[in-house]
């Protein structure tokens, strides 16, 4: 059973379009993170959300943490080819010295010029 479900798994859009990807779980997380990964590279942290209902903006990217801290969304406005990549959400189930993340399977985004 996948703890974190991401949807859609694949998304191919044209440059300039808007998109939203989702990350859902039945578990409550102490924090949730979004990463972007390019082929052959390690994931790179985009944002961490901690508080239920929290919204964070990073240029054209908007991240929201659900009120119950079980789900999150990532919205991209006016997508560009440079946004292409695998977007992974990850939830933290522990804290302090036992901090570790559980990852979803990711959304593979392709933005066509």
């Amino acid at each position: 059973t996948q703890l974190l479900e991401q949807s859609p798994q694949f998304l191919s859009i044209q440059e300039g379009e808007n998109l939203t990807v989702y990350c859902n779980s039945s578990s409550v997380f102490s924090s949730l993170q979004w990463y972007r990964q390019e082929p052959g590279e390690g994931p790179v942290l985009l944002v961490t959300v901690v508080t239920g209902g929290e919204v964070k903006k990073l240029k054209r990217l908007t991240f929201q943490f659900g009120d119950a801290r079980k789900d999150s969304s990532l919205h991209i406005t006016a997508a560009q080819p440079g946004d292409t990549g695998l977007y992974l959400c990850a939830g933290a189930l522990g804290g302090g010295s036992n901090y570790k993340l559980t990852f979803g399977k990711g959304t593979l985004l392709t933005v066509n010029p």
Binding site: E41, G42, P43, T48, V50, K56, Y99, L101, F103, G106
Partner: protein, 114 residues
């Protein structure tokens, strides 16, 4: 600055051969260190994590083992590789950032067992 090094970048090994992947971090002390594997399904599976020298927690029973002989060194090993051990192996450490904790990943090792 804090950096994480992982090598080799790619590796092709025959079934039954041993494995040793190394990860080192710089610019910090007593980090939490992690080994993940990313297979064809694209998700990251936690294999091992360590909160200190000699302290290893295993998340998934498997053909692999991990060791932490020094504070900033984390090693992933196998005595005899299986075909199913193929994948993209990522080392990471957790850092306390503004707004919460995050992972910094190495650039990964692409392992192909043939």
């Amino acid at each position: 600055s804090q950096t994480i090094h992982q090598w080799p970048a790619t590796l092709v090994q025959p079934v039954g051969s041993p494995l040793s992947l190394e990860c080192t971090v710089e610019g910090t002390s007593n980090p939490n260190l992690y080994w993940y594997r990313q297979a064809a399904g694209r998700g990251l599976q936690l294999l091992f994590y360590s909160v200190g020298i000699g302290q290893i927690s295993s998340e998934v029973p498997q053909n692999l083992s991990a060791s932490r002989p020094q504070d900033r060194q984390f090693i992933l090993s196998s005595k005899k590789l299986l075909l199913s051990d193929s994948g993209f192996y990522l080392c990471a450490w957790s850092v306390l950032l503004k707004g919460g904790r995050g992972y910094t990943f190495g650039s990964g090792t692409r392992l192909t067992v043939v």
